[in-house]
């Protein structure tokens, strides 16, 4: 019996002593941010660094990576290893700007290349710009909030390699005033004790990531969707912005949303946001968008 107790306690002591899973040390990393918009000029590139979570954060203060060598390359459509064109960037006032003019082409692949003096790795990221689509029909252009016909959008079908198309539908208020808040958001604004950050946040409200599966196919060429009333924070003029996303933005947004909300993960478990920048963190994304404007009238009493 004594032997048995001794063996048990020895086992216990052995198991208690081992701790094979140590926390990583904080590591400073570069962060890049740049978004290609179809039909617009090449985007600016912003380079910052991470900071320890317990330190105060200042976006401007961290925009201190001024001596990087930044390029964006347009890759060959057939052979992605082949560079068709290279665009140089130069640093001016917190950001890197393209030296040459170039309009971002839909369906094409771009690569971001950054070399930072003193940093051994070349920072690279690549993305394929979503194909062009357009809002074919929408209506009504004047909505009666929660009582009339809801806003319906019909967009032309487009494709993205390897997956169904992914969209964001943004509702951007053109008259963002407190008295224009729709009842649901007015109640939330009150609940948040009139937080100005929240009010600003509502001005460029988005519906979240939608997939082609959320739309109803009208025919092979078109998809339609009804914008629910709860996605409209403001009465009056609103721009409805429909954007198709590349893989980088899609994964970044959905994983960032999980990190913020714990949705689908146990409380307290945090996973890193999905990012496809080699040698750094951040996002090199691409979107293709179309916009229409609607007018939202308050509900009639």
């Amino acid at each position: 019996m004594k032997q048995f107790i001794l063996i048990s306690f020895s086992l216990l002591a052995m198991c208690s002593a081992c701790r094979p899973y140590h926390q990583d040390d904080y590591k400073e990393q570069y962060v890049v941010e740049s978004y290609l918009y179809t039909g617009r000029s090449l985007p600016l590139v912003h380079i910052t660094k991470t900071i320890p979570v317990q330190q105060p954060y200042s976006y401007r203060r961290l925009s201190s990576v001024k001596n990087a060598n930044v390029h964006i390359q347009l890759l060959d459509n057939e052979n992605r290893a082949k560079v068709e064109q290279t665009f140089e960037y130069t640093f001016q006032k917190d950001n890197y700007y393209p030296v040459q003019e170039h309009t971002v082409l839909p369906g094409r692949t771009y690569r971001l290349l950054i070399n930072i003096p003193g940093y051994s790795q070349t920072v690279t990221a690549q993305t394929q710009v979503p194909e062009v689509f357009e809002i074919l029909r929408f209506g009504p252009d004047t909505l009666q909030y929660q009582s009339g016909e809801p806003l319906s959008l019909t967009i032309s079908a487009s494709h993205y390699p390897g997956r169904q198309n992914v969209y964001m539908v943004g509702i951007h208020s053109q008259v963002p005033e407190v008295e224009n808040l729709t009842p649901h958001y007015a109640a939330l604004y009150e609940e948040k004790e009139y937080d100005p950050h929240y009010f600003n946040f509502l001005q460029t409200h988005d519906w979240g990531v939608l997939t082609a599966g959320n739309f109803t196919p009208v025919n092979e060429e078109a998809l339609s969707i009804v914008v629910p009333w709860n996605e409209i924070p403001f009465f009056n003029k609103n721009n409805i912005l429909v954007s198709a996303l590349d893989d980088n933005l899609f994964d970044f947004i959905r994983s960032q949303s999980i990190q913020r909300s714990y949705q689908g993960l146990p409380p307290g478990e945090i996973q890193n946001v999905l990012t496809y920048v080699e040698g750094a963190l951040g996002i090199f994304g691409a979107v293709t968008s179309d916009t229409v404007r609607v007018f939202v009238k308050p509900q009639q009493n």
Partner: protein, 754 residues
């Protein structure tokens, strides 16, 4: 050829020796003398030969192959007076004997059911019996089997808000919960605060924490088997309990000479409390209720036949106001029915046949300013089973069975009445098992078993060998070692907060069933009279664990397989329990040391952008050390105090190391705050500890009925245990906020038994 081996093995079980024709045997039932209720797992021993057996799930026992002669039979059952009788057995005689045991006192709660009787050799590895007395006396909101089970070493809860069972590093979906042998898919009520089982009808609870034998299957980890009692076959009786969260009523009685029945109902009575809270606190549900109903009818027309019909229905519904124009609705529950016929062909050979059906449902809906979104999950299961138990020789017991089932699992998602995702997985499942107990000598026992499962959807045929060997040199020591392979075709998704949004998934053509190997080694000792000490070591490896991919929250347009991620894990640990079962002071001290690890592709990478650098990480519910004290003190005939103290090292959490922001996002610019983390769940919350105390007094109501009043105080010293940390970006620097668990809470209940 290898596919035929298990069939040969089973066939051997059916035709094993049936010799010993000249020997005598004793068979019969053991009953409560007052209610006529059959007592299962009661022990009966032939004193002179020291041979004994416990009654089976129907209260039946049979001791075979006894030399003719005069013997003393001793029958014991904790909470009952010991029964002794001298019998003389003739050559070839089969003595039919019904034993009626008298309770030792008239306490109104159920009497302790303790099959192990302080005999180490009768214990099974990984199995723990939970007495109904312990369940009713535990200092918890509402007497509850799951809350009592959570205090056992090796069993953990995810929080004070959950009665889900996390056993030996497995999640709650890896525990098979059987109520009267029917699978219950949603075993909790009230967001998971307590289980779906009314303690008034529970007769027997057994938990197989791991390495469980071949008669059970379909889960990777453990089995919780809850049997309901039979009705009072002598007179009409019942009980009524009023509690702060729920109240319950149970009525039972005889139906003719050979039959008995009971019906029990429980319903939440939390409405007035919610009404009161709603006046001062926001976020209180507009409407909430749960109920459960149990019913059972038993017919024993002869000693050879026994029929039973068992019914269960339980449901929760909640309407939760999120804001002025937004609400959340949840509705979930189970229904099950089972008809069973048991026939005793000979004292050494019985068979059972049953038909059962189960329906599980869970719907979640929210409405925001006219927009509605819903998600639903349902399982329908219809099955038929046949089993045999045979005791052909003194050294051999055999059980074998087959089961055929049809299941349909539905999972769906809809927005604005339009379905955005829908999957129906229809399946046919066939299982067969053979389990044997070979007594090799007075000290050695071997329990081989084999189970095979066939799952039509995907054409999966899986063989699960199980094996246990036991060495018991005397009644004070037994040593066991076990191995088992297990497969699971369903997987439960539960998020460790509230269990109301749980969801079941199924293996499919492209998603293979999960697989586990379990090894266990245990020592049971009786170092002192009435004190037992049990120790167990275990290791479990798990493969093909499938669950929802957290990054796929929008299901629209995706195939079912694309919603899932598949990973693997392993767990190991040590458990010890010292238990004192008799005397004025009873209770136990339990300790568990546990490690649990899991790994999924794309998660917890050493390099964020590098596939293949994934690392194992502990799930949140992993706790390294877990120490529990349960103490019952009967300080006066009518007064009893029960206290439960638990101390556990903190759960795992992920510490944010760094942060950055992407401020020019095309959508919601300015909302791009991002945390960077290192190893997931590498940090530990502060240690968890809590003391709960319950005081109960029994008495009578105007001399007409027995009564019991119980006062429970949870978290006596109001320790604010940390549930998890949140990071608030609204503050600069980011603020880490503690979210804490329950403060001190009292609860009162009053019961009348008539």
């Amino acid at each position: 050829m290898w596919k035929i081996l298990p069939l040969l093995f089973m066939a051997y079980g059916l035709v094993a020796p049936t010799a010993y024709a000249q020997m005598a045997s004793i068979e019969g039932f053991i009953k409560d003398a007052e209610t006529g209720r059959l007592l299962l797992n009661a022990n009966i021993i032939v004193r002179e030969t020291r041979r004994g057996i416990a009654t089976d799930t129907t209260g039946f026992f049979a001791i075979n192959n006894i030399e003719p002669g005069r013997y003393t039979l001793v029958c014991s059952y904790m909470g009952y007076q010991v029964w002794e009788e001298k019998v003389t057995l003739e050559q070839g005689e089969s003595l039919n004997l019904d034993v009626k045991l008298r309770p030792v006192n008239v306490a109104m709660h159920e009497i302790t059911v303790e099959p192990e009787n302080n005999t180490a050799s009768l214990k099974q590895i990984g199995r723990k019996h939970i007495s109904t007395e312990l369940i009713t006396n535990m200092p918890v909101f509402e007497a509850d089997v799951f809350q009592a089970v959570q205090f056992l070493p090796g069993v953990q809860s995810s929080s004070d808000f959950s009665s889900n069972l996390y056993i030996r590093g497995g999640n709650p979906g890896q525990t098979l919960v059987l109520f009267d042998n029917n699978t219950i898919y949603k075993p909790t009520h009230f967001f998971g605060f307590f289980s779906a089982f009314n303690t008034d009808v529970i007769r027997n609870v057994n938990l197989y924490k791991g390495a469980y034998p071949a008669p059970y299957g379909d889960r990777l980890g453990s089995v919780l088997k809850i049997d309901s009692k039979t009705g009072n076959s002598n007179r009409l009786s019942g009980s009524l309990t009023a509690g702060m969260l729920a109240s319950r009523l149970m009525i039972e009685g005889p139906a003719g000479r050979a039959a008995s029945w009971y019906i029990a109902a429980r319903r939440s009575t939390i409405g007035p409390l919610l009404d009161m809270l709603r006046k001062s606190t926001s976020g209180i549900p507009d409407d909430y209720y749960f109920y459960d109903i149990n019913g059972k009818f038993d017919l024993v027309p002869s000693t050879k036949n026994r029929f039973s019909l068992s019914l269960y229905a339980g449901e929760d519904k909640i309407l939760f106001p999120v804001s002025e124009q937004a609400s959340l609705t949840m509705n979930y529950g189970n229904r099950s029915a089972r008809a069973n016929w048991e026939h005793m062909h000979t004292p050494a050979f019985t068979s059972r046949f049953s038909v059962s059906g189960t329906h599980y449902f869970n719907t979640l809906g929210y409405s925001i300013a006219g927009f509605t979104h819903g998600r639903f999950n349902e399982i329908y299961e219809l099955s038929t089973e046949g089993e045999i138990d045979s005791h052909p020789a003194d050294w051999l017991q055999i059980s074998a069975g087959v089961k055929f089932g049809v299941t349909r699992l539905s999972l769906g998602d809809k927005a604005l009445k339009n379905g955005t995702f829908s999957e129906n997985i229809e399946n046919q499942l066939a299982t067969a098992f053979a389990h044997q107990v070979w007594k090799l000598s007075d000290s050695w026992k071997m329990m081989p078993g084999l189970r095979f499962n066939y799952f039509l959807n995907g054409d999966y045929l899986r063989f699960d060998p199980r094996f246990t060997i036991q060495y018991a040199p005397g009644h004070r020591l037994s040593i066991h070692a076990s191995y088992g392979r297990y497969h699971q075709f369903l997987s439960l998704i539960t998020n460790e907060t509230f269990t109301s949004s749980d969801m079941w998934l199924s293996a499919s053509e492209n998603i293979p069933p999960s697989k586990a190997h379990q090894f266990a080694f245990g020592i049971n000792t009786i170092p002192l009279k009435s004190v037992s000490l049990d120790l167990e070591l275990y290791f479990k490896s798990m493969d093909d664990l499938f669950e929802l991919n957290p990054f796929r929250s929008n299901w629209a347009g995706l195939a079912y397989d694309d919603l899932l991620r598949t990973g693997k894990g392993y767990s190991y640990g040590l458990e010890a329990i010292i238990e004192k079962k008799t005397g004025i002071i009873t209770g136990y001290i339990g300790y568990a040391l546990g490690y649990a690890w899991q790994k999924f592709p794309g998660f917890n990478r050493a390099e964020i952008n590098q596939p293949g650098t994934e690392r194992y990480y502990p799930p949140k519910y992993d706790r390294r050390h877990d120490l529990t004290f349960i103490l019952n003190f009967q300080f006066a005939p009518q007064w009893k105090i029960t206290s439960a103290f638990s101390y556990a090292s903190g759960q795992a959490f992920t510490k944010a190391l760094g942060r950055y922001a992407v401020n020019n996002m095309p959508f919601n610019p300015g909302a791009g705050n991002v945390l960077t983390v290192g190893r997931v769940n590498a940090e530990r919350l502060p240690a968890y500890h809590r003391l709960d105390v319950s005081v109960s007094k029994t008495g009578t109501f105007l001399g007409l009925a027995e009564t019991e009043i119980q006062l429970h105080v949870l978290n006596v010293y109001s320790r604010r245990n940390v549930w998890f940390y949140n990071y608030y970006f609204e503050e600069n620097p980011v603020k880490q906020i503690e979210v804490t668990l329950l403060p001190v809470l009292p609860a009162l209940s009053y019961s009348i038994k008539f």
